[in-house]
Structure formats: C-alpha cells, structure tokens
C-alpha cells in the first residue's frame, strides 16, 4: 500500500494551524457583526436542513423579524455532523454564532468555564420555570445556560408484527421478562435485537441503563459532580450488561455494525424487518424512515417500550436515560438573541415544532400536538419519569465519555471486565480533575 498524501498527522496539524490563523484574524471583525445599517444581526445555526423543518424555521424567523423590525436573523441550516464540526471550529476561533445548539452536560460546563456562553437564568426566568425539570441537563452551579427545545428518552423500539409472530403479548417490564421474550423470538427464528456497537455509543447506552437501574439517583448525581466512580453499583452495572450479552440477543456482526448508516446498520436492520427491536432514542422513527424505500420506516408496526427494570438494583425502575437539544446564546451575542430564543420556546413555536415532527417539545403546552402514537407514549414516559439521566457521555463531557464508551465497546467484545469499564472511566476522569 502506498499513498503519497502527507498523512493525517500533518493534515490535523494543518487544520489546527489554519484554525489558529483564523483565530488570530477573527478578533478584529467582531465589531461590525452586531449592527449594520441600524439593524441588529443575529446569526442562528440549526440542523433542521430538510423540509418541513427548514421552511418552518425560516417562517419563525420571518415572524420574529416582523415584530422586531430592527432585527435581521441570518440562518444557517446545516447537516448535523457538519454543524458539529463547524461549531468546534467556531469555538476554537472564538467566533461562535449568536444562537447555536448546546448538548449540555460536561461540554456545556467547559463552554461556561471558557466564558463562551451566556447565563440565561435571569433573562429567561419565565421560560425556565415553564420547562421545569427538562432544563436540568443545561444547568451549571444552579445557573441555566441553554433552553432545551427537544428532549427524548432512550427505550426499545420494536416491530409489533415480529413480536406477534413470536407469540409475545404485551411488552416486557422486567429484565427476566425481556430475556424470555428473547428466547421466544429466537425460537421463532427471528434475530431479537440489533445494536450498532461499531459506533460505540449505541452499545454504551446499554451500560448507561444498567447503571441507571443499579445505582441510585443520589449516587449518579454525585458521580457527575465529583467524578468518583468507586460505588460498587457501577461494577454491578457491568455485570448486568454481561448477563445481557451472554444471552446472545444481538445481530450477527454487531461489533462492527454502525448505528444508523445504511440498510445493514442497526437502525436499518430494524427498519427492514430483519430484527425485532433496538435500543435507541426518540430520533429512531425519523432515522428508519430515511432507511426504507417507501420513506415510512416500520410504519404501523412501530412500537416502543421503556428499558425494563432490573431485580435488586438501587435505581428507580421509572428513571430514564435521555437527552436533547437546547438553544444556547453565545456570550458576545446581542441581547435580542435571548428574546428570539424565548420566542423559539413559546407555546406557539413549540406547537408548530411538534406538528412538523421536528422533535419532542419541552414546553408542556405543546406536548398534545405530538400525533405519532409511539412518540406520544414515549413522551408520557418522559413526563412521568422521576429522574432523567442525561446520556453519560454528554454528562461527563467528551473525553471521559469517549473513554467510557470505548471500554464498554471492549466489554461487548469480551475484552474487558466490569471492573475494567469503571477503571478506564475513572482514569479518564482523573485527568479532568
């Protein structure tokens, strides 16, 4: 093999160098950004780059401009991964958009520490109280830095007709019931579960849930703050996950299966009726629709149930793992940007957001607008949950989160023990202290 490129090392360095140069140049032009010709310009980045979402947001911005004649909103609708890359670069150069998507958790804490994002606690107090517990993932030291506009929980998406074919009535409430359903599916010649362990995070979601079932809310919330994983419940989480893996419920080749890309990805296998279920978030119906020729995904066969309870665990069986997207306002943004974000969270805009199937609204006034029965059920579970744990990799931030996901993927491959997962996570966490 021979390639004459200069290789990733130099490429990475090159990008870094270019970014640094832009950082150096970026400082001077911030003055002309906020007001041009008496108008205040707000830049807004979002990832609804397909219709109806794209045109809905254009309409929302136009409506706001009508009531605020001095404001000009510049929208950049980008593909999700592109947006993340560009956001990274924008933060590096210190030239972040005024309104952007913030995932919360450790990443937000880093942004706050670097003084990149605005404290919205006072300016948006009324909206924050309306959103209730949903904002927890976007708070640092009691202050709210971003307003979540879509929030979901992770659970099992399943194929109703395959469940019926295997003679399964109702959905499993406990892990033992889940195991017996796995047996029934296997007996019927159906592959029970797909998991995209190739991308690591889908596999990691299993560990997150077993940890959520084994550890009390108190232990988990302390761990997020103190980065101390010495509680034995974290080892138990790995043991429970090992029981799940030992049951062999997963699709052939799950170690290299990607999460969502293509018909042989974990989502693709569920969408095309090759497996009976998959553990995934509220995005799953949308992903499956994109992976089938008729753009319907599983259609009428789509079902959902929450992660089952685990006997003897200290966690609340109704606690859920979840996460979402929030609008953050960068520190340098004009004050009117906060008003626009508040407008985005208004009853009116959130209802339209739900009607266009753009996500799961966080404003209680809009939840009834969610029509899809499976999503409506998910929403009910979300709103009745005593505690929603933000995805651990988000909560702990990328460097701890990725170390954690890597070691969980090793556990799936039979190359790491329950203790190894805790040790690898603790090691990465100690780097952060």
């Amino acid at each position: 093999m021979a390639r004459k490129t200069r290789g990733a090392a130099v490429l990475a360095a090159l990008c870094a160098g270019v970014l640094l140069t832009t950082a150096a140049c970026g400082g001077s032009d911030s003055s002309d950004k906020s007001s041009s010709g008496g108008k205040t310009t707000i830049t807004w980045w979002h990832n609804s780059n397909n219709d109806p979402g794209k045109s809905y947001y254009e309409k929302v911005a136009a409506d706001f401009e009508k009531t605020h004649p001095n404001v000009d909103i510049k929208i950049s609708a980008m593909q999700h991964e592109d947006m993340l890359t560009k956001l990274d670069a924008a933060f590096q150069s210190g030239d972040a958009p005024d309104i952007y998507m913030e995932r919360g958790g450790g990443e937000l804490a880093d942004h706050v520490e670097a003084g990149l994002t605005k404290d919205l606690s006072k300016d948006a107090a009324d909206v924050i109280s309306k959103l209730g517990g949903n904002v927890a993932g976007w708070q640092v030291d009691g202050k709210t830095y971003a307003l979540p506009f879509s929030m979901g929980v992770v659970g099992f998406w399943y194929n109703k007709s395959l469940f019926a074919k295997a003679g399964i009535t109702g959905t499993p409430k406990t892990l033992d019931e889940w195991f017996s359903d796995i047996d029934k599916l296997k007996a019927a010649g159906i592959t029970p579960v797909s998991v995209g362990a190739g991308d690591k995070w889908p596999a990691a979601h299993y560990w997150y849930y077993t940890a959520l079932r084994q550890c009390s809310q108190d232990v988990l919330q302390k761990a997020v703050r103190s980065l101390d994983f010495s509680d034995q419940c974290f080892v138990k989480a790995g043991d429970t996950l090992k029981d799940i893996i030992a049951k062999k419920p997963f699709n052939a080749g799950f170690l290299s299966t990607p999460a969502q890309s293509g018909p042989t990805s974990a989502s693709g296998l569920l969408a095309t009726g090759k497996v009976a279920m998959e553990l995934a978030g509220h995005w799953e119906p949308g992903v499956m629709q994109g992976l089938t020729a008729d753009k319907k995904g599983l259609g009428e066969d789509t079902g959902w149930f929450p992660f089952p309870s685990v006997d003897g665990g200290a966690g609340d069986p109704a606690a859920q793992l979840g996460g979402g997207d929030a609008w953050g306002v960068s520190e340098k943004a004009p004050a009117v940007a906060v008003d626009f974000v508040k407008y985005l969270l208004s009853d009116e805009v959130q209802t339209g957001f739900a009607q266009n199937d753009m996500g799961l609204p966080t404003n209680p006034a809009a939840t009834s607008a969610v029509k899809d029965p499976a999503l409506a059920q998910l929403l009910q579970v979300r709103d009745s949950s005593p505690f929603i744990q933000l995805y651990f990799d988000t909560a702990f931030g990328t460097s701890i989160g990725n170390a954690m996901n890597d070691s969980i993927a090793l556990l799936f491959a039979g190359k790491a023990s329950s203790q190894d997962v805790v040790d690898a996570t603790q090691k990465a966490a100690d780097q952060e202290k």
Binding site: M1, A2, R3, K4, T5, R6, G7, A8, A9, V10, A12, A13, L14, C15, A16, G17, V18, L20, T85, D88, F91, Q92, G94, D110, H111, E113, A114, G115, L116, A197, G198, D199, K200, N251, A252, G253, F254, L255, S256, T257, G262, T264, K274, G397, T398, S399, G401, N402, A403, D406, A409, L410, A413, K415, Q431
Partner: protein, 295 residues
C-alpha cells in the same frame, strides 16, 4: 523569500510547529492555551495500550504490505510484460482498484464483508463454508488481516504499474545476449530483470512504507479502528483523541510521535537503502576511480 518557501512555511512548517505547541498543553479545543503540562501528554500517549497496539498494527501493515505485494506485484508485472493476448485489458483490471477513491473502495468492501447479508459470506455459504460469526471485520482476531487483504487489493495495481515501467528500462540487448548464452526464462529474470529493477523496487518499498505508517481512511471506513481496538492505527488514534474526544493536546502529542516515527524510518531507509540509487553518476564514477587509485 520565494513563493514556494512561503507556501511551505505557512502550510507545512507552521502547522507542524503548532501541533508541537498543542502537544505541550492540556487543551479542549477552545479558550486560551494556558494549561501547560510539559511532556505529560506524551507520557499518556505512550502508556496508552490503544496507542502502543496502534504502532504494532502500523508495523504489521508496513511489513505485511511489502511481504505480500512485492512478490505478487513482481510476478504479475513479469507475466504482463510478456507479449500476450488481452495484455491491455489485464493491465487495466489490475490497475483499476488503485484509481478508485479510497473511501469508495472502503464502502464497497464494507458492504461486501457484511456478516450474514454480505456477498462474501453468501459466496462462502454456497461452497458450504461459514464466515466468522461476527463477520470478518467484526472479529478482533481477523479484522486487521481483512484490512490488510483489502489494502493489498487496492494497492497491488500501483506496484504492478511501477514495476512494469521499470521493466521497460531494461535494455533489450541484455535479454538477447542471455538467450544466445542459453539462459532459461527463469535465469534471465533472476540474473538480469530483478537486479536491474532494483531501484524501482526500492522506491516502491519506500512509498509503501510511508503510506502504511500514515494509514487512515481505509481503516476508518472499514472498522473505525475497532473491534476492540484491533485495527487502530496511529492516525485513527489521533483523530479519535482529537476531533472525537476533544483532547487536542493528546492528539498533538500522538501526531508528533507519528511524525518522528515516520521521519526516522524514512531517513534510515534513505540512508541505508535508497542512497545507492540517488547517488548521481559522476559521484559513482569518482568513487570508482578512487577505488582504482587505491589499488
């Protein structure tokens, strides 16, 4: 400063310098570079099993590529160098994979190698064989060898085309006189063709080695460095640490280590192997006359 030097400074020297600088800090990708940690990032990288095994994987690919592609490429080049029917078509077929974009080739092989639903497993099934349960790319024990096989398929064409070009410079008279002396085809290849092809082979080995050390895209597409870090290379490690985990300091340290390894190997190879090819004729001549003078 000439324009070329200026470009070199801006796009090569400055980025390399920046990477070295990043490697001395703990930096998340935003905010000021303030947390100076000295050589700690280097210590972390070198103590990380994922990185040390990545070095081993790179070396396996360096060795494996040369060990497989050299004899295979040479054999095919020698065959294709004979006058035969369909020569042009055969040459094209061998060379096509090299022309294909690496990402496209990767995606194609990724789909072919899917367990259960992929073509490779289906073909194996037809002759009564079973692929590994997790698939060739999903089984830690096979994954690296599978990647190596795909790389061989992809880059064999380059070796063949280079060797074919080298073969054209072997003077026809040598073959004729060897034939007059009654040498067999095999003797001709061994005593004339391969020695005269030496410079081409040595240059190809050099290109292959550097490419293997910097291997990224094919691995990224086929396995992403997995399963269980079985195919991680130095380049996938540094991307994983940098853009995925936002540990830019650690990624910087890994990139510097990759640079040093590649640089040292390149210089060593230049010095011990390539030097005799790059010495120009006048110096060779002066050497010769010096030797004679000593006598």
């Amino acid at each position: 400063m000439t324009p070329a030097l200026a470009l070199m400074a801006v796009f090569v020297a400055w980025p390399v310098f920046t990477a070295v600088r990043f490697s001395l800090y703990k930096w998340k990708g935003f905010g000021p570079l303030s947390n100076f940690v000295g050589l700690d990032n280097y210590k972390l990288v070198l103590q990380d099993d994922a990185f040390t095994s990545a070095i081993v994987h790179n070396l396996i690919i360096v060795g494996g590529s040369i060990a497989v592609q050299l004899p295979l490429g040479l054999g095919i080049a020698l065959l294709l160098n004979r006058k035969m029917w369909g020569q042009g078509v055969l040459r094209t077929i061998i060379f096509v994979p090299y022309v294909l974009a690496e990402v496209i080739a990767g995606v194609v092989w990724f789909q072919l190698l899917q367990p259960q639903y992929g073509t490779v497993d289906a073909l194996l099934g037809k002759v009564g064989l079973h692929g590994p349960e997790q698939g060739f790319l999903g089984t830690p024990e096979y994954a690296l060898w599978t990647v190596l096989a795909v790389l061989t398929w992809k880059y064999l064409g380059l070796a063949v085309i280079l060797f074919l070009a080298g073969l054209q410079s072997v003077p026809e008279e040598l073959y004729e006189s060897a034939q007059l002396d009654g040498a067999s085809w095999w003797q001709v290849q061994r005593k004339i063709t391969i020695p005269l092809l030496g410079p081409t082979i040595r240059t190809w080995c050099f290109l292959s080695m550097i490419g293997s050390l910097q291997l990224f895209d094919m691995v990224w597409i086929l396995t992403g460095g997995g399963p269980a870090n079985a195919t991680t290379t130095m380049a996938t490690y540094l991307v994983e640490q940098g853009t995925k985990s936002h540990n830019y300091g650690i990624a910087g340290a890994a990139s510097v280590i990759l640079f040093v390894i590649a640089f040292v190997m390149a210089i060593t190879y230049q010095f011990f192997v390539l030097r005799r090819d790059t010495l120009d004729d006048s110096r060779k001549a002066s050497r010769k006359s010096r030797k004679e003078a000593v006598r």
